[in-house]
């Protein structure tokens, strides 16, 4: 029996463009050097998987406005702190005196609000289905504690319509295991019916190798389209029903803007009307705005796999991990940052 690595290295089938749509996949693929063992006709494209990358500059502008104009304490996942807005990043706002705090979980932001009744605490709720339940639980906890000084600034996104929008950019998807841990794999079977192939993959090196081996096995056998769940130990076909129910209770689907990709209908989630007291946009009257990305930035084409990071005129010159221009350079997992740091 061949090992996954042997299957990958000995692959002799047609050329394959495989898109990973999760930043953590991108990161691990680079960290363990998986690209280096792929045969030349197999290409891995880093899709829009990192929610930091797809967060539009206008969202950061809103967070900065809440921090500087409304004096809110902003609690956020560390990833967002260096993301450029139109003028300022949150790190920039912090150097001007804004209260910006990195937290491990939104539930900690609720605790911070409870412990500091004089502060208005706003949690920046970004992320895909994996992360949405944590934001919903935060609102639930704040409501149970009757906290009036906690709200969230939402920019949550959902994958299914993004898969459809990007379906033509790749021959197969590496579906992010933790998104499907929440929503299950039913959607992948629907996509299969639409002719879109992919496998659900875990995040460790061995799991990624196994998933890639499965894709190449199907490609070699000429199966078209195909789907497999290679992460059944965690991502059950039915997902996590309690999490799905929670999301439905607190959030409603909406159209969402993806940095670089534009608006994808039905690809976002916003807080339900019932809970709008916890929506920072309502509470502080901060309307959505698109902001202005840097003119030369080619993030959009990079996210779609049309351009390689090195083909962007800003890459490595104006735009580096220390001074990121586009969001793909900001997160460790952004394609540009990964290419810059790991080469190739």
């Amino acid at each position: 029996m061949k090992t996954p690595k042997e299957i990958i290295e000995s692959y002799s089938g047609r050329s394959m463009r495989i898109m990973e749509v999760c930043g953590t996949h991108t990161h691990e693929i680079f960290r363990c050097g998986i690209r280096k063992i792929l045969p030349p006709q197999v290409e891995l494209i880093s899709g829009p998987g990192c929610p930091v990358c797809v967060t539009p500059p206008g969202y950061i502008d809103s967070a900065v406005e809440l921090a500087l104009k409304h004096n809110c304490m902003i609690c956020t996942f560390g990833d967002l702190i260096r993301v450029p807005g139109s003028q300022l990043s949150l790190a920039g706002a912090r150097s001007q005196g804004a209260k910006i705090k990195a937290v491990y979980t939104p539930l900690d932001a609720v605790e911070i609000a409870a412990a500091n009744p004089q502060e208005e605490v706003v949690f920046l709720a970004v992320g895909f289905e994996t992360t949405v339940p944590s934001a919903c639980l935060a609102v639930k906890h704040a409501q149970m504690q009757n906290l009036r000084n906690f709200s969230i600034l939402g920019s949550n996104k959902t994958m299914p319509n993004a898969y459809r929008a990007l379906g033509k950019c790749a021959d197969a998807f590496l579906y992010p295991g933790h998104v499907h841990t929440i929503i299950g794999s039913g959607i992948c079977r629907e996509l299969l019916a639409d002719g879109i192939s992919g496998v659900v993959a875990g995040f460790q090196a061995d799991e990624l190798l196994t998933a890639l081996a499965v894709i190449l096995h199907h490609a070699e056998a000429g199966d078209e389209p195909f789907f497999e769940n290679c992460y059944r130990r965690i991502a059950k076909d039915t997902g996590n029903p309690a999490a799905v129910k929670l999301i439905e209770e607190f959030m409603t689907p909406c159209d969402a803007e993806w940095r670089g990709l534009g608006v994808i209908p039905g690809s976002g989630l916003k807080i339900n009307k019932t809970y709008e007291n916890f929506d920072a946009r309502c509470k502080f009257n901060v309307p959505e705005c698109s902001g202005t990305p840097h003119a030369g930035c080619r993030c959009g084409e990079i996210l779609k796999g049309i351009l390689k990071p090195q083909e962007c005129p800003l890459f490595g010159k104006v735009c580096t991990p220390v001074n990121p221009v586009g969001a793909c350079m900001v997160s460790h997992e952004g394609s540009c940052s990964a290419y810059y740091q790991y080469g190739r």
Binding site: T24, F77, P176, R232, A235
Partner: protein, 76 residues
């Protein structure tokens, strides 16, 4: 947006659980999982246990590889 951590459940109380990952311990929410018990392994993301882990990645990988092997033999 998927940094997940597999961790062992040390104790469960109400809606929360103390988990241990290579000696790092933290209280996380257990509200999204039923019947969690000490000794179970869970996947944790952003302070929430989002799934019980039923077997190891090695086990799953070898099951998948065996399946591929059978497929390949059948096709030949």
């Amino acid at each position: 947006m998927c940094v997940g951590l597999s961790a062992r459940v040390v104790s469960v109380k109400g809606g929360s659980a103390v988990i241990d990952a290579s000696g790092a311990r933290r209280t996380v929410s257990a509200e999204l999982l039923d019947e969690l018990e000490p000794g179970d392994y869970v996947m944790v993301h952003a302070g929430i246990a989002i799934a019980k882990i039923t077997n190891s990645s090695e086990e799953e990988s070898s099951q998948i590889m065996e399946q591929l092997d059978e497929d390949a033999k059948r096709d030949n």
